[in-house]
């Protein structure tokens, strides 16, 4: 190629000028801009060979990274245990816990269908004896009330996303979940206080004995003939000790969740949450059975908790050892018991007239 001589000289001149300009530009560039170019981004403390995808993978695996602030030690950018916790909650506790609760509900329905109501053999005697004190009854209903509030709000929080959102939509569930969370956090300490008062009030009569194991092994209420029991039978004692163990787990873990500043790290909170959910599912499943057998399932049992007294025939049928003990010690008392008519219309309370006549 033949370049005209003048144009060649002009081109060389332009190149020289550009070179000089670039040198001058570099020499007189503002100091901050030079610094910015030199310090572009923090040094990559992660594996530089893998690129952005590798960096992201490392972060998700919990590899520490240095912050852009100077003099700070490397920190864990993502709390990877949270993902494990989420999986345990969603893929284990939800389906298994839901299954346990449905199983308990199904058991109650089957009991109601096939066993129906366990009647008082020989009908009511009309003789009422004291079973629970005023203090025990007040505590029982106090703990039961707060437990129901906590169970409902807790179930909304645990199962609400998969169960309720399809039914009510995200917006309504958002309000419901907010309410459930506030209610759950508020009633938690109230329940704990009640539980800590309730357990000592009932522990004396719930000491386990060999007869309780026999009661359980023979099938309890499902047995064809009554199995002798003390003030509480094996099933009631099992419920009491389950409530004690799992109730205390529920309370301890709940304190961490309600007051998260008590925990030293997130793992403690996640562990508390798993414990809390497992204990809650166990207690709710047994509470459903307790509520049914303590009300509609067995005739004459509920009045023990509503009036403090039970019919003597009921006690002889379900808790003969307790009745024998009361009679032997002379501790059988009717003080404060309401007048209840016997099945034959007579009231056997000392000095009491025929119940029908008295009522008229």
């Amino acid at each position: 190629m033949n370049w005209p001589k003048g144009k060649l000289h002009g081109g060389i001149g332009l190149l020289l000028l550009a070179g000089v300009f670039m040198i001058l530009h570099a020499m007189f560039l503002p100091a901050g801009m030079v610094q910015a170019q030199q310090l572009e981004g923090p040094p990559n403390t992660l594996d530089q060979k893998t690129g952005p995808a590798g960096i992201w993978r490392d972060l998700r695996r919990g590899k520490p990274a240095r912050e852009t602030r100077p003099f700070t030690p490397p920190v864990q950018a993502i709390q990877i245990e949270g993902e494990e916790w989420r999986k345990v909650r969603n893929e284990w506790i939800r389906p298994i816990g839901g299954g346990i609760l449905l199983f308990a509900l199904g058991g109650i329905i089957l009991f109601a269908l096939f066993v129906r109501r366990v009647p008082i053999e020989g009908g009511r005697s009309g003789r009422m004896i004291v079973r629970f004190s005023r203090y025990q009854r007040a505590l029982h209903w106090f703990v039961a009330s707060t437990f129901i509030l906590l169970a409902v709000s807790g179930l909304i929080l645990l199962f609400g996303r998969p169960v309720l959102i399809p039914l009510m939509g995200k917006s309504a569930f958002s309000a419901l979940a907010s309410a459930a969370k506030q209610g759950h956090n508020l009633f938690g300490p109230v329940f704990i206080a009640g539980l800590l008062l309730l357990l000592p009030a009932f522990v004396r009569d719930n000491r386990p004995y060999w007869q309780d194991i026999v009661w359980l092994l023979r099938g309890g209420f499902l047995s064809r003939r009554e199995i002798p029991a003390g003030k509480f039978n094996g099933g009631e004692k099992l419920w009491f000790w389950l409530l004690t163990v799992f109730g205390l787990i529920l309370s301890g873990s709940g304190i961490f969740l309600d007051f998260p500043f008590l925990a030293t790290d997130l793992v403690q909170l996640q562990f508390s949450h798993v414990l809390h959910a497992v204990a809650a599912v166990v207690i709710i499943a047994f509470a459903v059975g307790h509520a049914y057998l303590g009300s509609a399932g067995v005739e004459g049992v509920l009045e023990g908790m509503t009036t403090g007294c039970v019919d003597e025939n009921w006690a002889r049928q379900h808790h003969p050892l307790w009745l024998e003990e009361l009679e032997a010690k002379g501790g059988k008392t009717t003080r404060g018991c309401p007048h209840v008519a016997a099945s034959d219309g007579k009231s056997a309370l000392p000095g009491q007239e025929d119940a029908k006549e008295a009522a008229s």
């Binding site: 009854r137 958002s174 506030q182 109230v190 509503t306 009036t307």
Partner: protein, 215 residues
């Protein structure tokens, strides 16, 4: 939703507040108009002193009743004091009273104080209700209106606490709806004991004070 909130915080609230004010005043004035017995012997003691003494004395349970009524008294105080603190010093209430009713403001409870007061109030109310359903005598003297008053008060308190996050209009509207129902029903319900306990105690105390007997 905003319409619902506007309704229960606006026209319905003013209507129920008016019913509450006028109804309560009507009942109290009615009680005062009843007067006392007309023909009475010369007083042996001070009726006024007896009334004041009895009003104050009955704030403390008598020693002989402590074993039986101790829990009842503690629960009663926990509920009433807790409710008073919640009503008068919870930040949302102070803001509401200041903006809508009185035009003035006063110091409010911190959040933890609100929670503690609410927990005492709830614990007290639940124990009182538990005793109402499990004590044969209390059960016998409790009318459906007593149970309704307990439950309505419980629901008002509960809905207020559920709306604590203050992030959902629907929860605030639910709380205000229950507040309106509570105010509307107040003068016709056992809730009137808020005012009438003074007259009841005072009348009894005055009668005995006149006879020179301290209650």
């Amino acid at each position: 939703m905003n319409t619902w909130l506007w309704l229960v915080e606006g026209p319905l609230f003013w209507l129920s507040l008016s019913v509450f004010g006028l109804g309560a005043a009507w009942k109290v004035i009615g009680l005062l108009m009843l007067g006392g017995p007309r023909a009475q012997p010369a007083p042996r003691g001070s009726p006024v002193g007896g009334a004041i003494y009895t009003i104050l004395r009955h704030f403390v349970p008598r020693r002989v009743f402590l074993s039986g009524a101790g829990l009842h008294a503690i629960a009663g105080y926990a509920f009433h004091v807790g409710l008073f603190i919640l009503l008068g010093f919870a930040a949302p209430h102070v803001a509401f009273f200041g903006e809508r009713l009185l035009g003035i403001s006063w110091p409010t409870l911190p959040r933890w104080g609100f929670i503690v007061a609410a927990e005492f109030a709830f614990a007290g109310l639940i124990i009182l209700w538990a005793m109402r359903i499990s004590e044969p005598i209390q059960k016998l003297v409790s009318r459906p209106a007593d149970h309704a008053a307990t439950w309505l008060t419980f629901l008002v308190m509960l809905s207020g606490c559920l709306a604590l996050e203050e992030a959902h209009v629907s929860l605030r509207a639910l709380h205000m709806t229950l507040v309106d129902v509570w105010l509307f029903w107040f003068p016709f319900s056992p809730l009137m004991h808020t005012f009438t306990f003074l007259f009841s105690r005072g009348f009894t105390g005055a009668a005995y004070g006149r006879r020179g007997v301290g209650l």
